[in-house]
Symmetry: D2
Subunit: 341 residues, 4 copies
Amino acid sequence: MISFESDYTTGAHPAILQRLIETNLESQSGYGNDIYSAQAREYIRAACECPGADVRFLVGGTQTNATVIAMTLRPYEGVISATTGHIAAHEAGAVECTGHKVLTVPGHEGKICADELMTYLETFYADGSHDHMVQPGMVYISHPTEYGTLYSLSELEAIASVCRDYRLPLFMDGARLGYGLASLSTDVTLPDIARLCDVFYIGGTKVGALCGEAVVFTKGNTPPCFVSQIKQHGALLAKGRLTGIQFEVLFRDGLYFEISRHAIRMAEKLKALLLRKGYRLFLDSPTNQQFVIVPNEVLASWQDKLAVSFWEKYDENHTVVRFATSWSTTEEQLAALEAIL
Amino acid sequence: MISFESDYTTGAHPAILQRLIETNLESQSGYGNDIYSAQAREYIRAACECPGADVRFLVGGTQTNATVIAMTLRPYEGVISATTGHIAAHEAGAVECTGHKVLTVPGHEGKICADELMTYLETFYADGSHDHMVQPGMVYISHPTEYGTLYSLSELEAIASVCRDYRLPLFMDGARLGYGLASLSTDVTLPDIARLCDVFYIGGTKVGALCGEAVVFTKGNTPPCFVSQIKQHGALLAKGRLTGIQFEVLFRDGLYFEISRHAIRMAEKLKALLLRKGYRLFLDSPTNQQFVIVPNEVLASWQDKLAVSFWEKYDENHTVVRFATSWSTTEEQLAALEAIL
Amino acid sequence: MISFESDYTTGAHPAILQRLIETNLESQSGYGNDIYSAQAREYIRAACECPGADVRFLVGGTQTNATVIAMTLRPYEGVISATTGHIAAHEAGAVECTGHKVLTVPGHEGKICADELMTYLETFYADGSHDHMVQPGMVYISHPTEYGTLYSLSELEAIASVCRDYRLPLFMDGARLGYGLASLSTDVTLPDIARLCDVFYIGGTKVGALCGEAVVFTKGNTPPCFVSQIKQHGALLAKGRLTGIQFEVLFRDGLYFEISRHAIRMAEKLKALLLRKGYRLFLDSPTNQQFVIVPNEVLASWQDKLAVSFWEKYDENHTVVRFATSWSTTEEQLAALEAIL
Amino acid sequence: MISFESDYTTGAHPAILQRLIETNLESQSGYGNDIYSAQAREYIRAACECPGADVRFLVGGTQTNATVIAMTLRPYEGVISATTGHIAAHEAGAVECTGHKVLTVPGHEGKICADELMTYLETFYADGSHDHMVQPGMVYISHPTEYGTLYSLSELEAIASVCRDYRLPLFMDGARLGYGLASLSTDVTLPDIARLCDVFYIGGTKVGALCGEAVVFTKGNTPPCFVSQIKQHGALLAKGRLTGIQFEVLFRDGLYFEISRHAIRMAEKLKALLLRKGYRLFLDSPTNQQFVIVPNEVLASWQDKLAVSFWEKYDENHTVVRFATSWSTTEEQLAALEAIL
């Protein structure tokens, strides 16, 4: 049985485990006040070319989305997202659970479009009064999106420009950010993101860590009483060293980028293999997630040999499935896949 | 510099790290559907002598308290706690953040008393109508308490009996449960707890794990749509293996109990040492946390040599500090402490 | 200046004011325990031909929607509504403020369609797991809708049937229910509604009362600790007599239906007048709200003579406006309108 | 049967009903944009001698408390109240329902004490870190308190001074404010309150209105998007004229003060009568609520003749009951009471 089910089926990059062992018996203060978290913050600020950035570590993606959004919005504000955005569709209502509405604009293969965002905002403010409506207070995008797609630099700049015009903070969910930055077809860099977004996070869980997301506040906009607020949301880790050490390892010598590039190389080979074998792509993803249209009887034949993720029904006879590569995908796994296909 | 600051200043028991390495490249399903989580559940059910128990893994204590309480209470209900209970005093309002009130009864060195609980409930229901008050919906206790104290079996049975009479689920916060079970002066066993509580958790973070709490629902009372609910609270770990593997190691061969006993041995030696050196105890704790009254000038002299936790001001010239031992406390550290004292 | 701006611009039906005066000095218990509330409950049960119904009085529509929904849903559930539903679009996020998501299906002139509802539910439950999504827990419809349109009996039965199949309570927002029941083209009666809905409310504020909505739970499904829950939401009126007396007057001798029929007669005349004068309807509403496409220069000319509600921009040169009649609309006002047009 | 059960058992002052009738058919904009609300705001600003005050009308006391507090606090803040404060004890958890904790200081016959407030705040901020605690964000007092007692001007100034030192807004619940201002033994005026409090409300429901509380923001501190926020909390009245007209009548010519003085005169006579008849007072209340210790057999004998409120059990043989007078209490009722006693 080989698995391309997701990018979180294996453990952590071995360098992380090695570092956990090396540092294990050192006594470190809790709640993020350890030297590894401090060091990781430094490395990430440098990688972002944003010396004034504030970097905080949370445990998982949904937790990060919900707490960052709740800490940023005023009670009467909502967050704008693509209808297919993770917060809108796949987080079990975590944002609403904090009392805020997710306002939606159309998603185009997972992406929102600056023009449609502007139209939404113009329409909202055009009517004299909007007292009975939820006021937009933040814009949420994901990069890569839930469909593996990426914003181009100009698309991102256009969205950021609309956000600035309407004084809305721009928040990027980067649960798979490494795979976006390592894509062969992106022109967006980490410093670009730090420049254009007010807050974003660098996903660890899906890019080589056991858990952990590094949230970067780029504009002096860390929410007040941050520790208190994440404690309140159950998002404060007692042993903050766990996330600190992992990001220290990932960003000390560029490991985060290196393993992301590896996953992209594997994804490109995977895509080529699938196309060579006659499979149709559901959409053309430039990152580590590949969405493929598979005849149902073929899918059934994979049952005990190959694990992939069900995505959606395509038609009566076909299903869209997702193949994901990661830092741990090997040439051997690709060879085994080829044998099965 | 040696540290007795808390029981979460070091990493994880080496056997846990070893196991993370061994299993690292295996592909396992996410969200708790890995074989290690399944195995750990089995081990814990056995240790609890409660074959029907449902065991779930969350990341940290505050998160566990808030989500278990929110999932159990009806919207108009509150949870009863000692005024000094962790949820009442030191979780930044995490329970209230979910919309529920913490109702308080007096704390006696951290413990609530069955009689006072009964009086509270009798008074509440005595008035014909209590429509304008928050209805009690759960009782929260911690064992050990925030002051390191323990309930005796008869105290626990008395509380459980009141809870049964009023049909209130009894919830035990066991963030340091291991140290309570290993205490030299306890008559309470893990099966007792499973029998008397409706839900409790076995703390990992403070007893040898990097993170993780094992929540045990003992009476077929797992909240419906559990995964959905913890996802909503940001408490669902993508790589559920991380908590699964840790509890599998801790409960496979009794490691959890063994390291807890070690911490208690160290705490007893520490206490004896402090008393020998003429220090007064703030209260007599039978577990791994020792609360000591220290003259302020002595405390100042420790500054760069010895880390302890500030607990509270005792009088103008004295401070109460906490010494905590853990699985990782060594004889060498005690010797070094003796030299300092 | 004459006003067709809304159906809540005047006070209350004179019979209500008269009754407030007659009963003013009587001493009555608070919080809904007065004899007028009891009497009103009886009258409403009779009008609904639902002797087992439980009837409760709240103050306003948004309050009623948010509290009924919050009391009915489990924490992990959302409420299904048309995208144009009042709770989805025009209540400032009141439902989300209670922690619940509004799940949307398409609106067709304000109405949802049983087939699309069924497709939504089939799709939701088709995927093996939906742990990461908000589970549907209730269906919300409004009758008349926000566009003045009405469900036919067969449409309503089809929706109720889907709800039963999926065990979802059906909730009808009847803020303008009287005008719906009095429409010349409806085949839906109040007993039909009581039979098909699990909970609905009979709007008072917009149908002759100063304030007040009568919520009817038809299936023994009053939420537990109801008074406590509405108190918690700030929806419990100390002088419950205020709503009790109003509904007692409205339902004692059929006044509610009589004044609704009057408003409909006025609306039909208004519609005929507008058509006669060459105006185009935006949609064909059978109730007291008429949506009309008006050239912008005509609209400007009305400024100081005629008040209507802005609804939406139609095109560069036209605007959709709403004319509303009510119990207090007079022939004189229609004559004055004719003069202006 | 005569009733001294509460101050909300009768309807509204006749002048209010008269005014509702006079204005009934006028067309007025909704949501507080009517001319009566505007006029009432002017009158109240004048009565407060606070020309810059912002005045808003809500429906009831619990609703006002919960929405004002939720609009003022940041998410990580709580509100300080006496343990006996209405928000702490008798609002069914309405504040917690908005996500905020009620922090308590001791109540002395319902009042908090400036010194104890200062000690609470000093202690809170004394510890270096309070990240794990709920930060105080507002101080709540009621005047008269739940026990009918009143702050003296110097007590109020002392509390306001502590609030200013800690930059905490001071919020006064004035559900019975009229009766406090009319007390024979108060030295506190409405302008004093406007000067010392950041926000307070002038209760209508219990002082002659059918419903309604006038919230006064005195320091340019109206919460942003106020209408949107109260809409979100279900507290926006469509027919805002209902509260506007009532407060217009109450404050046009001093009716509010006049009827409050009447209630106090009745309360003083009631108190004298009770003392004359040998009853003991539970505490000495200078306002319209009188708390009296009554032998249980006497209480039983009143059953069908005299309605009072149960307050609390005093001892095995005695009960504390509340007698309340109001604007509608008559000499005849006092005479009837005397006959019964």
